[in-house]
């Protein structure tokens, strides 16, 4: 549904997005992760046809964005970071103004706007958008992004101004949209947000795509390399006895705890050996790379 090929954007000699190759399937909820300034928003602006790329191309639903930005805008919804509205108009009037660009008749506009305002809990709010709180603006932003019932939804830092209740409602909404088969592209620097709603992620750093896949796949790809060794963490009630096994490469001991570096996953053999020696095992697990640590390491690069 979304594809970029060597997508590049250079601002005043500085490369914001550098040869990005990305693919997001139909109906996928994709998390676009990366630290501030990584090029996430610039990528979204190119994908939504709001700025032109310096090189490469991007396609949404098979339409090349640079060649037909208006056609792309007709099938997408976009919630910008720090979304803004016309402060002299009510939420309903703002939505009506935007809805007119899709050629909806008055009755359809009225129905759609009423539904969307109810959806984001702004139904019956008569105050002008200029008097809205940031959270209310963010919710109205979601409504305007959905005004044309889009196939693809781009959300840039969608939970930035929401309170916990708003965040929960946003997550429910994204899950509902995913259930309707819509493709959702969520850009965020907050891992927990992406983790809560996205099936797949792409990690961007300094304009380049560092990894793409499920969160576990990305974490494994980016984890510090330990060769092909498996790290097994063991904690026992008694003092750890000496274990002889040809698969073990090294053991790091610390009182009743130890980390075994082995050629393969030998947990079954370790368990049997401890049982035979009458040692009670409190914990035994294969150590997975910590996803937060992996991402923080990328963010700090």
């Amino acid at each position: 549904m979304i594809r970029t090929e060597n997508l590049t954007k250079v601002y005043n000699g500085k490369t914001a997005v550098d040869g990005l190759d990305l693919e997001v399937g139909e109906g996928e909820v994709f998390g676009f992760l990366g630290p501030n300034g990584a090029g996430k928003s610039t990528t979204i602006l190119m994908l939504t046809g709001m700025i032109e790329s310096t090189g490469g191309r991007c396609l949404v639903d098979g339409i090349e964005v640079a060649k037909d930005p208006l056609k792309v805008k007709e099938i997408i919804g976009y919630l910008p970071e720090d979304v803004g509205f016309y402060g002299n108009m009510t939420g309903e009037q703002n939505l009506d103004y935007f809805a007119r660009f899709y050629g909806m008749d008055a009755r359809k506009r009225k129905e759609r706007i009423a539904d969307l305002l109810d959806l984001v809990h702004l139904g019956g709010v008569t105050q002008k958008a200029g008097e809205y709180s940031r959270g209310m603006k963010q919710r109205l932003g979601l409504a305007q992004a959905l005004i044309n019932d889009p196939k693809v939804l781009f959300l840039d830092e969608p939970t930035a101004n929401l309170d916990p209740e708003g965040v929960r409602e946003y997550r429910d909404l994204v899950n509902r949209l995913a259930g309707e088969g819509k493709t959702v592209f969520v850009s965020s620097h907050i891992l927990s947000e992406v983790r809560a709603v996205c099936q797949t992620v792409g990690l961007l750093a300094k304009g380049k795509l560092v990894a793409q896949g499920t969160l576990d796949e990305v974490a494994r790809t980016l984890a510090p390399s330990d060769g092909d060794a498996v790290r097994i963490v063991v904690e026992t009630r008694e003092h750890l006895p000496a274990i002889e096994d040809p698969e073990i490469l090294a053991v790091e001991r610390n009182g009743n705890r130890a980390v075994f570096r082995a050629k393969t996953d030998i947990r079954d053999r370790l368990a049997a050996s401890f049982f035979e020696q009458g040692v009670h095992v409190r914990e035994m697990r294969v150590e997975e790379p910590d996803i937060e640590d992996v991402f923080m390491a990328i963010y700090r690069r």
């Binding site: 610039t42 979304v83 803004g84 103004y97 660009f101």
Partner: protein, 362 residues
């Protein structure tokens, strides 16, 4: 460019303008001052009309005994009524135009509504053209209201324009709208160039004072500096025959037959030199004033309201009595000012368009 999208933007902009407190306050002031100026104009017109009627009553005596036999008093035009309105329009009208334009784009940048708008299926040129159209509509609305108030007051005071005068009033309205557009265009350009509305207002005011005050003064200074000293009167100088001012406000241009300027070669030489000097000065002054919408507006409006007076401003020496100045002639004489009134806003609108199309919306 799709017309429905353009009109959607224009409709919203027009609605924003006419419902904004700023526009309503300035428009109300504008209409009140227009009404007051029309009232003053009607007073002037009635005085002139009274004088004209008196002169007509004394015509038989003047034809026989007066210094200028054959002279006919000129009936005052209803367009005199708009003379005061023109000067108010030049100040308050330009403030109205600046007020509706200076934050049209910068406010959208500040509120980030432009980014939201651009995420919907609308081209940038449709947005900026819609903004221009909405602004022109609002100014046209203000101008139409002012003219309607003026016409209503004329009728209330039993001054009924002829068809020609009505056409001239409409032309005056169109010229005034063109003048307002010049300042609207400046404000819109500054709004597009500046990142914040505060800066846009400052830039707009700087240009406003430059073209209204500084430019004419610089033009006069340049004329003084470049044209040199005026030619000196010949030693055989005799007092110049003075044209008699008519009660209608114009000048009777007939001169006596034994004019020394036609017989004395020194006088003829002086006349030639003086004509060249005045034309040189006027050329320099005209070049600078062509960049001033105020000056262009005054010149064109004067041609519409009083073709005779305009002819005197735009012609060197006396206007030939056998060539009565009509509206078409008068407008023809100020074609450069008319062109400038069109080119000036067009140039600023073009600059706005280019800047807006290339604007960084991050």
């Amino acid at each position: 460019m799709a017309l429905d999208r353009l009109l959607n933007v224009a409709r919203k902009e027009f609605s924003d303008h006419i419902t904004s407190r700023r526009f309503i306050i300035i428009l109300a002031l504008f209409l009140v001052i227009s009404a007051v100026s029309i009232h003053e104009g009607i007073g002037l017109y009635n005085n002139r009309l009274e004088a004209y009627n008196e002169q007509l009553q004394h015509m038989p005596e003047a034809e026989i005994e007066g210094p200028y036999p054959g002279w006919m008093p000129e009936k005052p035009s209803i367009m005199l009524v708009f003379l005061f309105m023109m000067s108010y329009m030049a100040t308050l009208g330009s403030i109205l135009a600046l007020a509706i334009g200076f934050d049209l784009v910068s406010k959208e940048k500040e509120s980030r509504s432009l980014k939201t708008l651009l995420s919907h299926p609308v081209y940038r040129d449709e947005i900026i053209n819609g903004k221009v159209l909405g602004g022109v509509g609002a100014l046209g609305f203000a101008m139409a209201l002012a003219l309607a108030v003026s016409l209503a007051m004329l009728l209330v005071f039993s001054v009924v324009p002829t068809l020609d005068e009505f056409a001239a009033i409409l032309i005056f309205g169109a010229v005034s709208l063109g003048f307002l557009l010049a300042y609207f265009a400046i404000a819109l350009t500054m709004s597009t160039v500046a990142k914040e509305s505060g800066n846009a207002l400052i830039y707009t005011l700087v240009i406003f004072f430059a073209v209204t005050t500084l430019l004419p003064v610089l033009g006069m200074m340049a004329a003084d500096a470049l044209a040199g000293d005026p030619p000196e009167l010949p030693e055989t100088a005799v007092p110049m025959p003075t044209p008699a001012q008519s009660s209608g406000g114009g000048y009777d241009t007939a001169v006596s037959v034994d004019d020394p300027r036609e017989t004395d070669p020194a006088w003829r030489e002086y006349e030639e030199a003086r004509k060249a000097y005045v034309e040189k000065r006027r050329l320099i002054s005209d070049v600078s004033s062509i960049f001033s919408p105020q000056m262009n507006y005054m010149m064109v409006s004067m041609a519409v309201m009083s073709p005779e007076t305009s002819a005197m401003y735009t012609s060197y020496g006396a206007v030939q009595a056998e060539e009565p100045a009509d509206l078409a002639d008068a407008l023809g004489r100020v074609w450069m000012n008319i062109a400038a009134l069109i080119v000036f806003p067009a140039a600023f609108f073009a600059a706005t368009y280019v800047k807006f199309m290339r604007m960084d919306i991050r």
